[in-house]
Symmetry: none
Subunit: 200 residues, 4 copies
Amino acid sequence: MKKRPQQERSQQMVSTLIEATAKCISKYGLDAVTTPKIAEMAGVSVGSLYQYYDDKQALIEALIEQNTHHVIKEFQEFVIQIEAENLDEIVRKSIQYGFNLLGQSDRLFLEIAKNWHRLPVQKMVNIWQGYFLDFGRLFFAKHYQSHAIQNLHIKFYIIVNSTLFTMMQFMSSNNPLISQDEVVNELTDMIVSYLQQNRS
Amino acid sequence: MKKRPQQERSQQMVSTLIEATAKCISKYGLDAVTTPKIAEMAGVSVGSLYQYYDDKQALIEALIEQNTHHVIKEFQEFVIQIEAENLDEIVRKSIQYGFNLLGQSDRLFLEIAKNWHRLPVQKMVNIWQGYFLDFGRLFFAKHYQSHAIQNLHIKFYIIVNSTLFTMMQFMSSNNPLISQDEVVNELTDMIVSYLQQNRS
Amino acid sequence: MKKRPQQERSQQMVSTLIEATAKCISKYGLDAVTTPKIAEMAGVSVGSLYQYYDDKQALIEALIEQNTHHVIKEFQEFVIQIEAENLDEIVRKSIQYGFNLLGQSDRLFLEIAKNWHRLPVQKMVNIWQGYFLDFGRLFFAKHYQSHAIQNLHIKFYIIVNSTLFTMMQFMSSNNPLISQDEVVNELTDMIVSYLQQNRS
Amino acid sequence: MKKRPQQERSQQMVSTLIEATAKCISKYGLDAVTTPKIAEMAGVSVGSLYQYYDDKQALIEALIEQNTHHVIKEFQEFVIQIEAENLDEIVRKSIQYGFNLLGQSDRLFLEIAKNWHRLPVQKMVNIWQGYFLDFGRLFFAKHYQSHAIQNLHIKFYIIVNSTLFTMMQFMSSNNPLISQDEVVNELTDMIVSYLQQNRS
DNA sequence: GATGAATGAGCTTTCATTCAT
DNA sequence: AATGAATGAAAGCTCATTCAT
């Protein structure tokens, strides 16, 4: 961030700008977002935008970062309250939760997901993976003490990427031959069988 | 396509343009490709480009389509000559093949993969899935006659998307903690355990 | 230059653009010249400007260069036809010629002279100095054979810079206490006495 | 100036602003100086800047004026203590002094010199000339009583402008073929021979 | 008086597309 | 059919200046 705001209304401005950016991405898609559009959506001048962010990219990154933290926090709270000792159920509910997330918030998450490689989402993915990894270790320690799982970090890398992209792809293409429930079921099956493979 | 070229000269032009587009994407990246650059690379005028394609998008679509057919054809030939009756080996070799494909061809496939959602790749994915589906049915009919696999088309939808994106993500980010072999192994494990789940 | 024009009308365009740039500098001053103004003055679109020149700076440089060559050529022709074997007269007439040059052509030369250090005028100055140097050597060889002048290149460096800037300064400030003729006289005196110093 | 500050606080502010302007010109160059940068450098708000100066230009003018007075005063003190009755030596030492001035003080004087025409330097030049004129009259009255020098004010106009610009040009361009000492020598020669011309 | 957030006209530059030749 | 010069809307960004606090 370019400037550490010193008055309260600056905080307001930062919020307004990020919110406007989110709205613009939802409305126009990431490719068509422009600084004039963001400024207009925020009801401020272009100049103001550049008082707070070095450039357009910095603004979008701020949005992503803010969102990631928000989403992960919510997801953590969600997972904690899952009352399931069963891997299948945890996975299924998590995927379900992910679909809800992608489905709400207009196209925002979808746009982010689709533009993956041009956004600083790697950071976000790493956080997610780290989180899953911790969670996974705990879970497996508790339920499958006998066997430590090999390569857990690679497995989670593969699961996270596979799942996110398949979900995103499904959401963007409105495939009429497959229902969302089916995708949830099958993804769950895939993940669970993968993790339980070699397990007695 | 604007025009169904029926003369050899036109066919030649179409080929040249598509080839030039491929080279430009490889050289500059999809974002930086411009019609003047393509025309220059092809050694023709911009005007000619627009004689054969309505717009830039149409030209890129043509490239994708042509490429898909080409790649699938090559892949089919590759699969046929795999001398393996073992699911694990088939999957492993196919993924290996995919990595080779992404790795070679300059950046072309990688650029396509990364820009997935902005390209008419759905068509391509559908073709892939159709192909896999046919292949899968044959394979399972032969080896696991006893049990028809439920939801095979969904399973392949999930496998194709999961695999392609994970591979692409791996190729674009140069993750130093994970090796390509590990990704091949784990993806293979995931797919195989998924397909063999519920199987005695 | 960005593009080697391949059609005749391109040559026309290049001329038009340079001419328009000259007019704009004359009209608005170098600081206030903008690409839209140049394009408008030329009666073409901004885009055309960028087809022929990489950027605004390149266009201005082209103008300077063209002008330098033009002016030096004219000056050479002027000097040749001075029928004077007398140093004083040659210098006086040259300065007179310079004033005429600065005085005509709207403010163009004046603006160039004033913005000296931000323009690629060094090249131009070097050309001028080289020219003067050759001329000077010939002149002194002819008239003052007995004594070679020491440090002729430095002397010309000092004379060229002193004269050009004093003239420019005089032209821009409209000093009411000094007349142009007086400046011509005194500059001539200074130069001549400088060059004839130590001479019997 | 917008406001004649009569309180000490204001005097302080004026000084601070001018000093900050000088620092900014040294640091960024005249072209890249902005009012926010000046305010920041001064440790005050932009608003305050505009409380004391109508606009950026006025502030820079104030800096120039203050500096001129300061420099001239120092120069006077310098000249007084030159113990030389010889014109050559006085001129030489003065030019030497000027080079030291341009060379020190970061880029400030150089920037001023280079941007000559956009700054209210005329006033400064006039002051210099006035000073030199007085000095010159005294000097010539003392040493060359017999002949009053004609056109002394014009001669000094020409000398001041010639010298300042040649020095500035030399400082800004780092000409590798000419040394500073040579420039000092030749300028001195030029000025001295000019002033002593027609003198027995 | 002092602040500094907000402004917005205006700059340079790009590139898909057109159309006279 | 082929050409490529010309287009111009629109992008990202800057900064002197203002004015509500």
